[in-house]
Amino acid sequence: MRENSALLEEIPGSRPPLVLGDADFHTVTEQVARIVEVKTPRPWVILLSAATTLLLLLVGSLSYLVGKGTGVWGLNHPVGWAWDITGFVFWIGIGHAGTLISAILFLFRQKWRTSINRAAEAMTLFAVAAALIYPAFHVGRIWFAYWLFPIPTQMSVWQNFRSPLLWDVFAVSTYGLVSALFWFTGMVPDLATLRDRAKSPIRRVVYGILCLGWRGSHRHWIHYERAYLILAGLSTPLVLSVHTIVSFDFAVSVIPGWHTTIFPPYFVAGAIFSGFAMVLTLMIPARRFFGLESLITRRHLENMAKVIMATGTMVGYAYGMEFFIAWYSGNPYEQFVFVNRAFGPYAWAYWTMVSCNVLIPQLFWFKAVRRSIAAIFVISLFVNVGMWFERFVIIVTSLHRDFLPTSWSYFRPTLVDVSTFAGTFGLFLTMFLLFLRYLPMVAMSEVKQVMPAASPHEGTVHARLGGAHVGA
């Protein structure tokens, strides 16, 4: 117990423990399972009411769109894509941090991921759901959305498999499904914990069915661990491919400002950047509200701040490189688009993007900023805003001044554009709040694995030397 007093101190930077305090396995179970077992907290009900109100706004906006047609959005000629595709890329990008944390950091054996991966994966799923709203409704006649899939019809027509938009259908639907399978697989042992702790018969039956009758058998764990590793291995190239293909929607076209080879890595870095910002925006209030400070520690927040700083710098490099290539290409249309982007009618959006994405995250070079939870939270909000603007800038500034000045216009969103976008937040937050309340938001079985006591060598000299640094 003596050395445990050191664990109560939390000093980011010196490889502090992943689980703080005098925690044993039961403490972890108690801390996490309690969240879904206590009486419904009042603030949660208030937040859920707000979220479902926004969700109703989404339902109303989309119903109006289906009734009237896509003309209710502010699209014009030549801006045929604006807030809709901006929202789509924004939400897909946010989803990518969940997969990065759950899969890529798993493959790199970054054990600090264990306390945040469940919530981040949930965020992925809900963000993909919010993203899918846009392409689905942008087709206009949504009752024909199944034409996107290669299903035989009486028209004897097939999809054009050379089109990036069709690649997108396959990429995003695969991504959504694989993320759901990975998320569910990871949750089964924790659902069994909830079943075993359930007091009411309804909970016991519901969690019992969901956990598939899991009984922690080691004969099952060997398959389970292998499945988890394989799913992580599959998700890693998948997540990179998804945003690569999303960027192909633009890069494969011949529009100046879109037709660039830097797009795939630039979009992937931007996706991770925005996703980590959203994880922080959600987890900082959640850890406080649910008292999870000892599981989601300041070290976790600091690590995520570092990822934001690194990916923000990459995005800044991409912004600069786009300008360089526009100049270097000698293509006057390309050059015009970029000068117009920074100094044209949308300069306000461009400089908002640069400030939020490139300048503000540089504050994370200062240790004091990385250690200030309030500062991290505020910067994460700026990044969320900045990354929405990035997609808006790429899409609208490249379109609004076509090759001929007769085809120039200025895009203004309509009320329905705004209400649809606000509504997707309602969808996302409603699902996230339900997740927080009814499913284990921290992967208990995984957190227990990274505790020093989980080693079969616990209590030996080897464990005492290496155990506390198990996450290093």
Binding site: N160, G216, H220, W221, H223, S455
Partner: protein, 184 residues
């Protein structure tokens, strides 16, 4: 605790007990394996590393299922794109070849991952014979803590070396607590 009658007519399904640490569960499983037991299992809140060695379990064959499904996925995707684009509905787009492989790579990749992931998911539960909602081992009165902080061991009566008394003694010697006979 007096030993139950060895001449009991109906055999229980298993003897189940628990220990409190990962180290002890590895020791118990080591002892069982060294005594020649095969039909026993450990039930733990998280995968305890080294247990597969202590239990003498082979590696999971799951990667082969994944590989098979991945190959099937890639082949299906190429077949689908070739048949729809070059055979059933040939459409000249920008003068590109009807079977334009580079343009077909993204969908091929996505379907490879999709098939592989679904097969891994189903294969994982299939190999473990889950879902299974009725089982004898969880009848141990403390078994709810197998998903919390205790490490359970179960020795099934079908094991040729199983004997209600000797097995119980062996488990107890290895440190197992609260050994109970369970049956459905």
């Amino acid at each position: 605790m007096s030993a139950p009658e060895t001449a009991a007519v109906e055999k229980p399904f298993a003897l189940v007990g628990y220990v409190a640490t990962p180290r002890e569960i590895v020791a118990v499983c080591d002892a069982l394996r060294e005594e020649g037991y095969r039909c026993f299992d450990a039930h733990t809140p998280f995968p305890v590393h080294g247990l597969e060695r202590a239990m003498g379990l082979p590696a999971s064959p799951l990667p082969w299922i994944t590989l098979g499904a991945a190959i099937l996925g890639a082949a299906s995707a190429l077949l689908l794109q070739w048949w729809t684009s070059a055979v059933d509905y040939p459409l000249n787009i920008g003068g590109k070849p009807l079977f334009s492989l580079p343009a077909f790579i993204p969908v091929t990749f996505e379907l490879t991952v999709l098939f592989a992931a679904i097969a891994t998911f189903l294969g994982n539960w299939g190999l473990s014979r889950l879902p299974r909602y009725v089982h004898a081992v969880p009848r141990h009165t403390e078994f709810g803590r197998a998903s919390d902080d205790l490490f359970f061991v179960s020795v099934e009566a079908t094991d040729p070396r199983f004997d209600p008394v000797r097995t119980r003694n062996l488990l107890a010697q290895a440190g197992t607590r609260d050994i109970q006979e369970v049956s459905l």
